[in-house]
């Protein structure tokens, strides 16, 4: 029995530590320990709720947009506000563009190197790589010349004596299985992805006035003045710039990203059984189509024990099924006490102690829905969508299973999605769904403006007394919710339950493991000193835990330690 500690999983202050017990080459038990941003209620208490989103969006520098959206929704929910259609569509476009950017970056720049052996790409025949690429996709960026250029660039990089960004990777690890040509295609697309993620980001910058940390939101709507005759307002030039960018990104997502994930997934089909863990899923609907938040273009709901037939949908921004069933447990977390409470009733009294695998071992609280641990993220949303007949989800899930199946030479059913590869596949599928919806919502906005509607904001006043509100948003990493209590126009309490808390959280008072922990049990470990398999599974969740601080270690003192005991 070996105990492996990978600490930190992140290299910035505040980190994720993963411990696994390995016996016979297989993970038998695991612990996920994270340091979350905490103390947000201290910063927000007493503030004007209209300003909350400016602060909450600073929780995490990668996901600024999502915390801004959830915050304004929470306050709007507390006040019962309706949001003008233009504002809903503009917010939706921001959400879509941010997610497109985020998912592309996650696969190519954050996870691909878990599966792709860049050094092996040097053995590839560029002509073969090109013809493989062309057999899978109409994408014009798969030509022989382009493959040759990428191979030459890679060779030059390697010959310089340092792999740079690719150094310290898992080259030659026995778990790397792709043929050289697929490795080369992946490297080529890695480079192209740098351009396309920027295009998606540009949409956020145009509509948000800047990114990161958009400036255009307001409780009650958005601040983007719509005036087709005005240079500095949202006019036709800007609208068409957004449209062009969305169409270009859509093509990359559908012809490159999704195809790559299907191909890589198929070639690693032996991994389809690993990393399932918790098969209760939670997702919230998003992309509201009306002013009240009762119709959505993205599905949300719950699935328990992998039973798709029993999926239950959330139907509105006011849905009591969501509102009443979220709780957080601190049984195994470094807070004073042992409770499991609804966010409106939470307090935060940090009480740091030692890492005690049988007691408290994480800063992350353990969220539960109806007392059950829930996996959140694109897989949750795609499964709920598939189960509830959401058309776009079904279209792209079926496409993905067919494409991966044809590369693998076998028929794949949706049940293969529970697991590490399934999470990557679902994220690419979600990205494809969003790429279609981006163009659709652009059309909705343009058409609405064309009707002469330039409303962007609903004025309001704070009533006296106390109001409670919650705002949910399906962020790239999963279900995000903000919970606010307002008293006489000032914030009395504020809690954020972020997606990575659902996934990275520790055991609860009943000893039920969180999704990260459960997903690691049963994973193979070929070499305990190079635990690539642990990284594959954790990365498939797209963790975003400790983005709170950024400190450059220019003197090389900080090291990531893999300890094997």
């Amino acid at each position: 029995m070996a105990r492996i500690t990978v600490d930190p999983i992140t290299r910035i202050e505040g980190h994720l530590r993963i411990d696994v017990e390995v016996d016979g080459g297989v993970v038998r038990d695991s612990w996920s320990s994270g340091q979350m941003f905490r103390g947000i209620e201290i910063i927000l208490k007493g503030r004007d709720p209209r300003d909350a989103w400016l602060f909450t969006q600073r929780f995490c520098g990668v996901c600024t947009t999502v915390h801004a959206i959830a915050s304004v929704r929470a306050v709007e929910n507390a006040l019962g506000l309706e949001i003008p259609l233009n504002a809903q569509y503009i917010r939706n476009l921001l959400v879509i563009a941010h997610a497109l950017h985020d998912h592309i970056v996650h696969f190519y720049h954050l996870s691909a190197l878990d599966w792709v052996d860049v050094v092996e790409a040097l053995k590839a025949d560029p002509a073969k790589a090109a013809s493989l690429g062309e057999s899978l996709s109409p994408w014009p960026g798969n030509s022989r010349r382009q493959m040759e250029a990428v191979k030459a660039k890679l060779k030059e990089f390697v010959d310089r004596g340092q792999l740079g960004i690719f150094a310290n990777g898992y080259w030659g690890h026995p778990a790397m299985k792709l043929p050289p040509e697929v490795n080369l295609l992946a490297v080529a697309h890695y480079l192209q992805a740098l351009d396309y993620q920027q295009k998606a980001n540009k949409v956020v910058a145009i509509l948000g006035a800047k990114t990161p940390n958009i400036q255009n939101l307001a409780v009650g709507g958005v601040a983007n003045a719509i005036n087709l005759d005005n240079e500095s307002a949202l006019n036709m030039t800007k609208l068409f710039a957004v449209k062009d960018l969305l169409e270009e990104v859509r093509d990359f997502v559908q012809q490159v990203y999704l195809v790559d994930v299907c191909a890589v997934g198929a070639l690693y089909a032996h991994w389809l059984g690993y990393g399932a863990g918790v098969t209760n899923y939670l997702a919230v609907p998003d992309l509201p189509l009306d002013t009240k938040g009762t119709q959505f273009d993205l599905p949300g709901g719950t699935i328990f024990d992998g039973n798709l037939a029993g999926a239950k949908a959330f139907t509105s921004f006011q849905d009591a099924y969501f509102r009443d069933n979220v709780e957080e447990s601190i049984a195994h977390s470094w807070y004073d006490g042992d409770w499991q409470r609804h966010p409106w009733k939470e307090e935060t009294e940090p009480k740091y102690g030692d890492f005690d695998p049988n007691g408290k071992y994480s800063w992350v609280k353990a969220p539960r829905f109806m007392g059950r641990p829930m996996q959140v993220g694109p897989l949750a949303q795609m499964l709920v969508g598939y189960a509830t007949g959401h058309e776009l989800t079904k279209k792209w899930v079926d496409y993905a299973l067919n494409t991966a199946g044809s590369v693998a030479g076998t028929k794949l059913s949706p049940s293969v999605l529970h697991g590490t590869l399934g999470r990557h596949l679902a994220r690419a599928v979600r990205c494809a769904v969003l790429s279609d919806l981006g163009v659709k919502h652009w059309g909705l906005l343009a058409t609405n403006i064309g009707k002469g509607d330039t409303e962007i904001f609903t004025p309001f006043e704070f009533p006296r007394g106390e109001q409670q509100g919650f705002g949910f948003h399906e962020a790239p990493r999963g279900t995000l919710s903000h919970w606010v209590v307002i008293e006489n126009g000032k914030i009395k309490n504020y809690q954020a339950v972020v997606p990575s808390t659902w996934n990275a959280g520790p055991r609860d008072g009943k000893g039920q493991k969180g999704p990260y922990e459960a997903s690691l049990v049963g994973n193979p470990i070929a070499d305990p000193k190079r635990p690539l398999e642990v990284l594959r599974t954790i990365h498939s969740f797209d963790p975003c835990l400790a983005c709170a601080i950024h400190t450059v270690d220019a003197e090389g003192q900080e090291i990531s330690r893999v300890r094997v005991l």
Binding site: I40, I43, G61, I165, K210, N213, A548, H550, D553
Partner: protein, 171 residues
């Protein structure tokens, strides 16, 4: 020379807000040539890519880990930043400056000139506001950026009527 002055850090986490703080002071005190832009970038991880693709020169203000007392000002060029390669990618949200520079290096798209002006933090606990030693380092950082812009040939000009820096997170 297209130049970006970028403050990195989380304004809600104590001394981590140093970078954005310095950018706000610069904005309140100087006018800049058209090819220079200033940005409070927060903590964008690999999302730095769009900002570092385009400028020929980048001056970054940030907190840094070093064996020195809080408030010590440090200055690093590109070679120093990249001297120690990043460790095995252990988290999708590891990526920071080094990773972005190396990625752009591979893509052939990064800035030629990279300077990092940093201070050693005392405390990065939750809550906006700089500690006393780090607050005391702000002037030196502002001057270091000013000197660097002069060296790059895109000097800052003191404003006729400097204002107060827009430190909205401290209000």
């Amino acid at each position: 020379m297209k130049t970006l002055v970028m403050g990195l850090g989380n304004v809600l986490m104590g001394d981590d807000g140093f970078g954005p703080f310095v950018v706000k002071v610069l904005e309140s005190r100087y006018d800049f040539p058209g090819e220079v832009s200033l940005l409070d970038a927060g903590t964008p991880g690999l999302d730095l890519v769009p900002f570092l693709t385009g400028p020929e020169a980048v001056v970054i203000v940030d907190t840094v880990k070093a064996e020195a007392p809080p408030g010590t000002l440090k200055r690093y060029g590109r070679e120093a930043i990249l001297r120690h390669l990043p460790e095995a990618r252990l988290s999708p949200h590891d990526p920071s400056l080094k990773e972005v520079l190396l990625t752009l290096d591979f893509a052939g798209k990064g800035p030629r000139e990279v300077t990092l002006v940093g201070t050693v933090p005392a405390s990065v606990a939750a809550g906006p506001g700089l500690s006393a030693p780090v607050r005391a380092a702000v002037e030196a950082a502002v001057e270091a950026v000013r000197v660097e812009l002069e060296r790059l040939g895109v000097p800052a000009r003191p404003k006729a009527e400097p204002g107060d820096p827009d430190l909205w997170w401290e209000r």
